[in-house]
Symmetry: C2
Amino acid sequence: MPQLLHHKLDPASRLVRLMFAEYGIEVELVDVAPWRRDPDFLEINPAATVPVMLDEPFPPVVGLLASIAHIEANFGPDAHIEALLPENGTQRNEVWRLIEWVILKLGPEVTSYLLEEKLIKRDLRSGAPEPATIRIAKANLAEHLAYFNWIFATRRWLAGDTLTLADFALAAHISILDYMGDIAWEKAGELKDWYARIKSRPAFRPLLTDRIVGMPASSTYADLDF
Amino acid sequence: MPQLLHHKLDPASRLVRLMFAEYGIEVELVDVAPWRRDPDFLEINPAATVPVMLDEPFPPVVGLLASIAHIEANFGPDAHIEALLPENGTQRNEVWRLIEWVILKLGPEVTSYLLEEKLIKRDLRSGAPEPATIRIAKANLAEHLAYFNWIFATRRWLAGDTLTLADFALAAHISILDYMGDIAWEKAGELKDWYARIKSRPAFRPLLTDRIVGMPASSTYADLDF
């Protein structure tokens, strides 16, 4: 069984966990706090990021993009499971466009800031959260949510008619922001309906039992009727 | 012929240009300054990023990851050209690991800051470069170069024995940093030998003729014997 070095509130790790779960592949989870820069971990991944997949006899599979490629190549779905990366080129391009939005815009402009202020500083005892930074991240979040709501006004899933990896990419971030209580669900519009559908999928359930010691989840986090 | 909406000093655009050139595919370049947020451009890409590929009859191909997937699927190399994404899974994972390093670490920690301070602020007339930001970006750059030199101590190309897309990803950034005069070549070690090899490839030549009005290239930029 492959091992996944991950952190419970790391969005890229969650994307990979969702992908494995949707394809029905079991994986053993190993908790890592990459920002602590443990030398043994740095030897595997000098970038000090998760996820890292250990899948003998292959060398470690390091990072999100390599993990996606590795899973597609080695654990790709049976014919009776819908693929998360569509065969059709135009649809696949749309999936990659939205994954890139999530990892190169939403991540750096929102999730990374909030994780740094609320989780990493606490874990490293390196100071109190900076209110100005949190304010900026939340203002950025509001703009991102407006864009995704604009998409969901005409689409059932993020990239079109079917669930794809783009949905899991976004849901990984939304679930972490929800854990920290940063999503104002009463103002969330169509995004809320979409997230309710995703949250109810069997692949998503294990994530809803994740807890960080000393950092309780918001009241909506594990609630399917939020 | 596909059109590429690009900026001459945008690293993701350069990666796509190098990929097209290495595969021997002609592409028509259309200059865009994405930070000016032109409404016609935003309608094609609300993320306000380049590259965007226009390749009729397909809808616009938006972003770096979609462009890579689209080129591989539609302009993949003939049997007599070496593929930039290796067939072998372990090698391909290593390529993706390093591309991710470049676009999720080197880019945000170095190139984006320097482009913002030196190019975008100037273009938008939004103030003078911030010396403290430039200093931090250059300190980050020194750490990245140390890592890449460590790799090049044992490898001819970034991901192993052959040139891959990872080399072009890194070279796109290095070439832009070199244009702005931010690479101290006298201290660059093995990276310099690697860059000299890349720079001499036919695929690279067109980039060396790029110029930004009012922002001259460094003396080393177009020099193959730098």
